[in-house]
């Protein structure tokens, strides 16, 4: 039998025809079949071809991951499914905006940590910053954790965008 240890996180790229309802199909597939979605991003990447790219982060046993890919591939508007986690090395990035409210030493400390993480200040008032940070998911998680005691008031994250390393394009 499968154990918890067999459950792994996979980043999956899906190229789809950008037509009405395509995102609902993907999300409906995940909720209808009880799969996890840890992160999902979508945007049109080729306006002339009306192609959108969905990047999904999901977790499951190898059998479930294979099933997820096959089910995605079965959707009519899906052009291609690629498992970036197993098909060679890939880079993945996420962007987050954090609103940190505070004054005095806490405010200075938040700025200092932001500097260490190479986060940018994109908005500032006398008692708040909005930081922009880009990186891998775990880097963002670490930054958020450090900001929590320093007046973290609000977070907005994009979810993961990912692409395979090397010269070969997906399609």
């Amino acid at each position: 039998m499968m154990t918890q240890q067999d459950i792994r996180t996979h980043t999956i790229a899906v190229l789809v025809d950008n037509e009405a309802g395509v995102l609902a199909r993907v999300i409906g597939l995940f909720s209808g079949r009880g799969y996890n979605i840890e992160s999902l991003t979508v945007a049109e990447v080729d306006t002339a071809e009306h192609l959108s790219r969905i990047t999904l982060v999901t977790s499951g046993t190898p059998m479930v991951i294979e099933q997820i890919k096959a089910q995605l591939g079965r959707l009519v508007p899906v052009r291609m499914v690629a498992d970036l986690t197993v098909e060679g090395p890939a880079v993945s990035r996420e962007l987050a905006l954090l609103k940190v409210v505070g004054t005095g030493e806490k405010r200075v400390e938040s700025l200092r940590i932001a500097d260490i993480f190479r986060a940018n200040v994109v908005d500032s008032t006398n008692e708040s910053f909005v930081f922009e940070i880009v990186g891998k998911t775990d880097k963002l998680d670490a930054f958020i954790k450090l900001m929590e005691p320093l007046g973290l008031a609000e977070i907005s994250r994009t979810g993961v965008a990912a692409i395979a390393r090397g010269k070969d394009p997906l399609l």
Binding site: D17, G21, G32, Q67, G73, R74
Partner: protein, 585 residues
């Protein structure tokens, strides 16, 4: 500038282009322009159902008995929502259906307009694909695409939602030949290496079994012929799912009957003890596998399916083969011959003698009496009296369905229409009408139960209107029999709400619709009643009063393995059902 047609005209032209000769439907405000266009032409026939669920089942019956796409036309809102059960049924059983739904005009979508429903939203999960046409220029292309998607790959239902202004707007027509799909390209030809590997395993197998399903039927009559000749050349035993019955001739010596929850003892034991399972066009459904961790424990598995998502879904297999059954078997036969494979004769002979031992249990035996008709007996007599005719059988869902699968012998594909995946009570009567529309001179019998019959009996009106002489043989035990059987086995015989109270007088009911109504309750009169039914040129309702306490055996109880079958009532209520099994459906 090419000729401009109205949306409704474009749709009908596209349907004709697609070879459609009949559509099943029900009019309403949103589809009036389409009904007006239908009125002005005579290439396409329209069959008026009494409820939209019935229309979809009719289209399913039509599709499954012909191999063509069944077409449905319903209005917006309730027309579309009523079709949902039929669409889900077609999805679960991979039946090619195109369902055109009316919609409020594009400028009213989202306004909670009269008879508005979010049809594409509602049907997204119960169709293979769906479309909302918002631009007249895309109408012809969308209809053609819908047929392509419904009929190819793993077939299924496709909805095209048609706002009323699109039906009335003008646009040029685009012929089907000019429509190509950008992303949808199902794989029909399989990887030859996988086929070679499969053939190699078959050459070495000591205890092999073919396990086939509805995918063989869907692949077409040629696939069934190829399969039959290939299986015969191997000498291996073969069993079939409910959906695959008829793909391989039931009278053949290598055929073990249906497998699964109410399959034969020999089929299930063969599956359990096999060392090589060759699954073709079946999907390891829970009705078939029983307890997964005890499913054919010592076997290697080959799985042929056109749908990659069916492979390794429930059961991990050793040799996955993605492709169309006919193509795959053609290649298998070629490789088998080229490599001059000789099955392990001695081992196979020993395997057959083990199987013959299981067959000797005579698992379908029942005790006939002079006083009461046994439901199994009614089906056996129907088979005896109808088998030499050009006959099609549909069923409802429940005990009668399982008995029909056990006792009616199908020699050809497309002769057996039943709701397998979804288990839709009320399927059989409208499905029989769809079959009869496609085969006006054939004998079409719906083997029914009194409870299922009542779920779509409004379609009796459709039969009368179009003089469709279908026969409905009700095995009337005054219970929702399968519910009662489970209550008896699992819930201490507390028959909660499963008694069919306040039944109509079926003879009078038949009479009131212009049908012939018959009733029979004595075994001595059974043959003459069935004979009268099948000889009549009218639609007939035959109410067969059967033993109300008869249960369907053999049975793999929920959550049990193939080798733990209940053979009859003597095996005891609740026997072999674990706590885990109790939660299973």
């Amino acid at each position: 500038m090419s000729e401009q047609l109205s949306g409704a005209e474009i749709i009908l032209k596209a349907l004709v282009d697609q070879g459609v000769d009949v559509i099943f439907g029900y009019p309403g405000g949103a589809v009036l322009p389409l009904y007006d266009a239908l009125f002005k032409q005579n290439r396409i026939r329209h069959v008026l159902c009494r409820h939209e669920q019935g229309a979809v089942h009719m289209a399913e019956g039509y599709a499954r008995s012909t191999g063509k796409v069944g077409v449905v036309l319903v209005t917006s809102g309730p027309g579309a929502t009523n079709a949902v059960t039929g669409l889900t049924d077609a999805l679960m059983d991979s039946v090619p259906v195109v369902c055109l739904t009316g919609q409020v005009p594009t400028f009213l979508i989202g306004n909670d307009a009269f008879q508005e429903a979010d049809t594409t939203g509602i049907t997204r999960q119960c169709t293979k694909h769906n479309y909302l046409v918002k631009d007249s220029d895309k109408l012809a292309r969308t209809i053609h695409e819908a047929f392509l998607v419904a009929a190819t790959g793993r077939p299924g239902p496709v909805v095209v939602d048609l706002p009323k202004d699109i039906l009335m707007g003008k646009a040029p027509y685009i012929p089907a030949s000019r429509v190509k799909h950008r992303s949808y390209k199902p794989q029909v030809k399989a990887d030859i290496k996988a086929i070679e590997q499969a053939v190699e395993l078959m050459g070495k197998a000591q205890r092999p079994v073919f396990y086939i399903g509805g995918g063989v039927v869907n692949s077409g009559p040629n696939a069934c012929k190829l399969l039959t000749s290939f299986v015969r050349s191997t000498g291996f035993p073969i069993t079939s799912t409910l959906m695959g019955l008829g793909a391989y001739p039931a009278s053949d010596q290598q055929f073990l009957g249906m497998l699964g929850m109410h399959g034969t003892y020999e089929a299930n034991m063969t599956m359990h003890d096999c060392d090589l399972m060759i699954c073709i066009g079946a999907r390891f459904d829970d009705r078939v596998t029983g307890r997964l961790d005890a499913f054919a424990p010592g076997s290697k598995k080959i799985h042929v399916d056109i749908d990659p998502s069916s492979i390794n879904k429930n059961v991990a297999v050793d040799v996955p083969i993605v492709g169309d059954v006919a193509h795959v078997i053609e290649d298998m036969i070629r490789v088998w011959k080229a490599k001059q494979v000789r099955p392990a004769q001695k081992a196979i002979a020993a395997w057959w003698s083990t199987i013959d031992g299981w067959k000797a249990r005579n698992c379908l035996a029942y005790k006939a009496t002079d006083s009461t008709i046994k439901p199994q007996q009614a089906i056996q007599r129907l088979y005896a009296l109808a088998k030499d005719r050009d006959t099609y059988i549909t069923t409802e869902v429940g005990q009668h369905q399982m008995w029909a699968a056990q006792f009616y012998k199908f020699e050809e594909p497309n002769r057996w229409m039943t709701s397998g995946g979804l288990g839709t009570m009320g399927y059989g009567l409208p499905a029989a009408l769809g079959v009869q529309v496609a085969h006006p001179d054939s004998l079409v019998v719906d083997i029914s139960g009194e409870a299922s019959f009542m779920m779509n009996m409004q379609e009796m009106g459709t039969a009368a209107q179009y003089r469709l002489p279908i026969k409905v043989m009700i095995l009337n035990n005054q219970y929702m029999g399968m519910v009662r059987q489970w209550q008896e086995l699992l819930h201490g015989s507390r028959y909660s709400e499963s008694y069919s109270d306040a039944l109509p007088d079926f003879v009078k009911l038949a009479d009131s619709f212009g049908w012939l109504g018959l009733t029979v309750d004595s075994p001595a009169d059974l043959d003459s009643a069935i004979q009268t039914m099948i000889d009549s040129d009218k639609p007939v309702l035959l109410d067969v009063h059967v033993d109300p306490s008869e249960n369907c055996y053999p049975m793999i109880p929920s959550g049990a393995a193939h080798n733990h079958m209940l053979m009859g009532p003597e095996d005891g209520a609740g026997a072999g059902v674990s706590d885990h099994g109790m939660v299973l459906v």
